[in-house]
Symmetry: D2
Subunit: 378 residues, 4 copies
Amino acid sequence: MKELLKYGMVGGGPGSFIADSHRRAMRIDGETQLVAGAFSRSFEKCRQTGEELGLDPERCYADFREMARAEAARPDGIDFVVIVTPNAAHYPAAKAFLEAGIPVVCDKPLCLTVEQGEELVRLSEEKGLLFMLTYTYFGHATVRYMKEYIESGKLGKIRNVMAEYPQGWLAYEGEWGGKQGEWRCDPKLSGGVNCLGDIGTHAENMVSMVTGLKIRRLLAKLDKLVPGRVLDDNDVVLLEYEGGAVGSYWISQCAIGHRNSLQIRIYGENGSLLWKQEESEELTIVDHDGNVSKVFRGPAPSASGASFARLPAGHTEGFYEAMANLYRSYTRCLRAKKEGTFTPDMVDFPTVKEGLDSVRFIHKALESQEGGNVWVEM
Amino acid sequence: MKELLKYGMVGGGPGSFIADSHRRAMRIDGETQLVAGAFSRSFEKCRQTGEELGLDPERCYADFREMARAEAARPDGIDFVVIVTPNAAHYPAAKAFLEAGIPVVCDKPLCLTVEQGEELVRLSEEKGLLFMLTYTYFGHATVRYMKEYIESGKLGKIRNVMAEYPQGWLAYEGEWGGKQGEWRCDPKLSGGVNCLGDIGTHAENMVSMVTGLKIRRLLAKLDKLVPGRVLDDNDVVLLEYEGGAVGSYWISQCAIGHRNSLQIRIYGENGSLLWKQEESEELTIVDHDGNVSKVFRGPAPSASGASFARLPAGHTEGFYEAMANLYRSYTRCLRAKKEGTFTPDMVDFPTVKEGLDSVRFIHKALESQEGGNVWVEM
Amino acid sequence: MKELLKYGMVGGGPGSFIADSHRRAMRIDGETQLVAGAFSRSFEKCRQTGEELGLDPERCYADFREMARAEAARPDGIDFVVIVTPNAAHYPAAKAFLEAGIPVVCDKPLCLTVEQGEELVRLSEEKGLLFMLTYTYFGHATVRYMKEYIESGKLGKIRNVMAEYPQGWLAYEGEWGGKQGEWRCDPKLSGGVNCLGDIGTHAENMVSMVTGLKIRRLLAKLDKLVPGRVLDDNDVVLLEYEGGAVGSYWISQCAIGHRNSLQIRIYGENGSLLWKQEESEELTIVDHDGNVSKVFRGPAPSASGASFARLPAGHTEGFYEAMANLYRSYTRCLRAKKEGTFTPDMVDFPTVKEGLDSVRFIHKALESQEGGNVWVEM
Amino acid sequence: MKELLKYGMVGGGPGSFIADSHRRAMRIDGETQLVAGAFSRSFEKCRQTGEELGLDPERCYADFREMARAEAARPDGIDFVVIVTPNAAHYPAAKAFLEAGIPVVCDKPLCLTVEQGEELVRLSEEKGLLFMLTYTYFGHATVRYMKEYIESGKLGKIRNVMAEYPQGWLAYEGEWGGKQGEWRCDPKLSGGVNCLGDIGTHAENMVSMVTGLKIRRLLAKLDKLVPGRVLDDNDVVLLEYEGGAVGSYWISQCAIGHRNSLQIRIYGENGSLLWKQEESEELTIVDHDGNVSKVFRGPAPSASGASFARLPAGHTEGFYEAMANLYRSYTRCLRAKKEGTFTPDMVDFPTVKEGLDSVRFIHKALESQEGGNVWVEM
């Protein structure tokens, strides 16, 4: 039997949607085992969560720093840690584990400031530790097809990118949608940016990873449309990329009717691509002459398609499988490290560097907003 | 038998797609009769077109000014004129007919400069002449439903408007798509604005007429993405409306895969609306709680629906019927004028004033672009 | 100027939806002129309709037989007649005009009995008169693409045809949907078959004309699902065609949620085709390997596409334009007859023969139903 | 920590798609643990699979009978068995475990003959053992909404059911699509029915469970459309249910363009419902007046929605989650049995009785086919 990789978790106490998703996603492929955790700032709650998850009580920690030290010291310590706290705790937690020599998986956004991000990049490089940011949607096989299609040159030079990520759940005055909404709308917990940091970075990261385009400058307009909101809830960012392409991202959490409508459209000189998260089993490809066709997730139509195949086309995969694909990539690299066969080109997941790119993106957008929606160079 | 209204046409020689559309659209309802024309700058071609259309050769004119004078002088002169020339000729032609006391229907955009537009507004008011701009898509019954839905208050206060109008036919380097592309890409004929003036004004007009929102200020980014293009072919305009709503319009003629994809999404505090020109038989309505439903063109679901009903739902109507609806509105008013029953609230079509709004919009966008994508007050 | 073809109309008094559609459709292309009519069994109403339509009162007839005689005798008599009465009057009217030597356009279904249909086929052949049945949906350019695609051999041998035509407007107990429903649910007026004759023949005709398949035998189940209905309102017909293909047609007028949802799916050994009337601007083509693509109405993608082009793709055409396409085909042949250039291969519209096929189809289906849903040979 | 339920597996050696799906699905919720198996008729392969899955070699059995005896005898024996062999082995395996007193989960179809099915029903009742048939698609929360919607009476009396399940993967002559196709096209392994038994039963079961309708009689037409096929690959079944409703099911494995297109449409006197497996996150509801709306999987809109909620709407779930929902229902009942709180009304999954219904359905369909497509009473 293949040995399971052992992981620990920071954050993920009762009611945490994203921690639950990480755990379920990993179980689908059955390559990992949760053995340690600092699930909550309350030790009580942490122990309780640990018990529910079948953990050895010794490995339920009151504090992530203690966990990092203790796990690093154990001969059977964790192979990696998964950080799924509110945004503000990402940085100190990631730092603690990197310093303890433990590879990190961190939910997005990476951290609150560019300096923090730079430090995490530096630390992970110095220590030679694999660091994945879980931009879940990049995990979809159809998104990998997009990337491959572009890399193959079939789209030609990219001219324009239209990305959007509207949601409607925070459209209501005086309502925050429960625990989720609470910390997302609280400046202290979320780092001063609500909508753009929370979901805008998904759009930014996907465009960046799929197209390879580097932002040259941007102009952002961050609005608070729901009365009483203290953080932005509807944003537009105009972009110019190196090489001449342009882009526009629309991000909203107050667009009633949208559940989770991340969408990316890429226009090249020889055609275009359309991908929608809510219909993630398909990718629309338009060729040079405007002929429209669809390809579907499945063993075909690409090498990465085969690599991420579980179910035949028509048997739907979703959010958990996308996240499981990220872990499939990450654990493949971790195992290769253990076996001494790792090479840097094996990394096919978002890393701490892409995490830093996103933090820069947020800060430049804030700078543009504060300057009166002016162009800001990256 | 109902007496047919007599009309003349300026522009619309061989190969004119839009003139042909106007003539076909009017024939659907059979309320009008073409009796005069200055179809081309070449008298030869004008006579030929007139012959093909069954006109009395005497009423084929070498020049629109001559036509205006002659028709105004005839006892059986035209009841209105339809101007379907390239953009640059709209103003002088409209002016000539207004001065001759003849009501005008003019294709969009109204004219090239704000001063021209102001003069045409003034002239039409002074003379008391009905002046319609044929923003065709406003003619769809489903678009009228949107307007009524908003006016009813069901959507609540509007917060955000996302409009887009991408096409792909001018995406190709060194190709202009025949006669259509030629004058649209030629600064002299098109008045210095290609994409924004040609199709962006459809988006601007529809948002304006459907929502009633007034633009307070805008920030425009007009790009030339296809190598060799001298006029913009891909534009984004950010908007702030009076009262606090925001908006974003994307207009492109180089987005391969889009045939004619005008789309408007309106987000209010109590729901949202989605309309797509290419699926113009339906309107998507989202209520306060995010429930999604569709209504379809047909005698239901509104007073204007009944007023513009020809075919039952499921028997598709299209572009010609939308244009015919505009003419239905216009001729209803013209007949009321003749019969002395006209009142200003009967006007339910885009007028010279909306035409002027569009010209202002274009010029403010150009100003914003020239200033480096800065905010420009309306 | 091209001379207009003169036509007369039988049926089409006040409130007739289908007569109105024929008149509007013809006006779109402006090739014909209505000059005579026997619009109603009431002479009063006939005169009134004629007056509204601008006809010479002399050419408003109390009776279609009188009209046939009188028009045949005039030097400026009609070039063809359009029959848009309730079903039961199709046969005597068509017979009268054929005997008078006047070409006929008749709405579907052709007539009530196979004997009537055979007589009309014989008469039209003996007299050498063009006879069109207006199966409107065959007029769509996208339907012609289907036909051409199949004729090109790209689909390979056809294996299975799934056609359906559900509507919902007669789903309500004790309601007949106004005048339309009234005669459609009355056995005397409709000829004893409601749903199958009224809309099922659209499916049968389209499959027949698009695929060229000949029915070898059929098994029909005609149901009355709405309490109180005296005629069928929900039907399934199983088919075996010559050559081994099979098929299944579902027809319903009590399927709430469907407006007018004719749909045809054709499965061959090398791919499949899907066409939906309510999305008639597109055709879905699946190739041998299951790749899905869409083609859109427009000048491309075929010879007939160019021949039936009015508007560029993305500018929607609909029901009237489909019907206008049939008239375009018919008048082209009529003119060729006048000019002596007609050849039988020019006929690209449904004729009296296809009309007879439909009547046979209905009668065989009734026979199967009466036999207890047994196979009946054609 | 909640104690994991222990299960064993019969079938599921290398390359078994469905066994792999069962294991992954169960892991998502983390309520069960695989501890024993008879994965293959080859002991070698069985041991190898067991090793890969981390099983104690002692609990890898050469034979399912041995496994049933041995596990029943262990104090830590399995809580239930999952049977995922080719169809022909379902019956003997299920029998062996029932006789050993072990609850059974069996993939569909239940068995090959009605007699076998009756015996399994009897055995499971006598022994009081929970027996689930994994009709996966019933697990979708949206399918449960359908069932609840109908039970609520909102649809009124059901009049017509249109179900279809086309696939395209067996459309190719001389190709069987690998291991999957091989046993599905081999009469000995599949029990003499290919398409109808394999996927037709999904349609039959879903209609039955969602609507509660009982089949009164059926008429089936089972065709072999691909040259060389020895079993049916394209079927139509006409149905009459008790109470007067009618139905029609179309099942195909040679319909190129369809990946896995199970679809169910239910027409009632007060509206209709539409559900598509490939868009399983939504359900289309049409009300009495034909208004069309969509509801989406998520905590809302029903009690069972909340009960099966993992991810918020817009975060896609798929095939594995549907199957996990079945196991969620099943293990809830198993635990209740252990705790003595079980009551029969807790059973909300397809059982051995529904499995027997499906076998009867297949055999009646074969009888109808052999009789020349005649009506056969249930």
